[in-house]
Amino acid sequence: MTTTIAATTDEAVAGIEDGSTVLVGGFGLAGMPFDLIDALIRQGAGDLTIVSNNAGNGDVGLAALLKAGRVRKVICSFPRQSDSYVFDALYRAGRVELEVVPQGTLAERMRAAGAGIGAFYSPVGAGTPLAEGKETREIDGRVHVLEFPVKGDVALISAHRADTMGNLVYRKTARNFGPVMATAATTVIAQVTDIVPAGGIDPEAVVTPGIFVDRLVRAEARRLTVEGAR
């Protein structure tokens, strides 16, 4: 249904329920929907399963959500970073569950959820500990692992610009997981730096068509330090 434009980030995240699975865009800090995460912290939903590439940097974004004690489980490819100390401490204290998924498999499992694919066979991870307990099948002489979709109740993503139809374009490698997460959740909430009238984005250059976007909210671009980006 039609994309709605929220006046504030608080309005944008209204109604997210305890126990939700939340897909959170970004690769490190690039494409991370900071303002939506801050609003989610204020909104108060807890017992969340977070699906994201990383498990937070420094004290901002996902790290702040983790620190606030709202996260039951993290599904990601790469939790361990130089500044992932919030996650690291919670994990070592047994206060957060972790499911590690190869990065491309994580993306593809979300794509499957968005694309109505019931399951798929991937060669990635076959013969490694991350495939333990998973079904396998040999196809063309190569062992493949059966992978199932990862679907979100909610996706929080950050894009560059939207039009009023909800069409999105991104900026450089901040695109990363946004477009695939936008297809894979029941309610998709996007923060953007700019909302232009319908027709203001070249139809040939739209990356995420508005059909995938439920709520839009404007948020100022942040100046992040280089240190913060590592």
Partner: protein, 220 residues
């Protein structure tokens, strides 16, 4: 609780345009909709411009406008029936794998398809007459049948020979099992599904007469 049947035996059956207008009324404002090749494309003419309905065409576009005429015609811009169409502000183009991912993934609110037969449980047959010498051609029919959240059928209720097309079980090869939610016909509107057929409206025929002519149990 079911709403009472709107029985209009006193008037003529719906014309194709009336039927298209009737279906258009049931399409919620702001929906993303795919209108199948043939008669369903005429529904677009009856959607109020301010309803904000966005049309999808499976050959890679959201925000499709009306058929192109004169200088508007651009053969790089057609609908799924390969008819030149136009682009509305806020349109988006994408490739075939993305377009069908969108459909199969359940992102369309409504699709409206023509049909040879629909069974009382919502099985759809609309791609093959089953004749042995027919060249089979499925196109996007099966993808559309499983894809949209609401699958509506637009068809005549009877063949030219008077045989019902709403049937106990399809005799033509299936497009998809149990995928149709509602059937809109010249003689009436029906909800179909696990509980069988419920009559919602009739046109030019009474419910009693429909019970005589259809081989399926009608509730409602």
């Amino acid at each position: 609780m079911t709403s009472p049947v709107l029985e209009r035996a006193d008037r003529a059956p719906l014309t194709t345009d009336e039927l298209a207008a009737r279906i258009a009324r049931d399409i919620p404002a702001g929906s993303y909709v795919n209108l199948g090749i043939g008669q369903p494309t005429r529904i677009a003419e009856h959607l109020p411009p301010d309803a904000g309905v966005v049309l999808h065409t499976e050959n890679g576009m959201l925000g499709m406008g009306p058929a192109a005429t004169g200088d508007e015609i651009d053969l790089d811009l057609t609908n799924a029936g390969k008819v030149p169409v136009t682009e509305l502000p806020g349109a988006a183009y994408f490739h075939h794998a993305d377009s069908f991912a969108m459909m199969r993934g359940g992102h369309l609110d409504v699709c409206v398809l023509g049909a040879f037969q629909v069974s009382r449980h919502g099985d759809l047959a609309n791609w093959h007459t089953g004749e042995p010498d027919a060249i089979p051609a499925v196109g996007g029919a099966m993808d559309l049948a499983v894809g949209a959240r609401q699958v509506l059928v637009m068809m005549k209720l009877f063949t030219r020979d008077g045989a019902p097309k709403l049937v106990p079980a399809c005799t033509y090869p299936l497009t998809g099992p149990r995928c149709v939610h509602r059937v809109y016909t010249d003689h009436g509107v029906f909800a179909v599904g696990p509980d069988g057929v419920r009559v919602l409206e009739t046109y030019g025929i009474s419910v009693a007469a429909l019970r005589e002519r259809l081989d399926v149990e009608l509730t409602g």
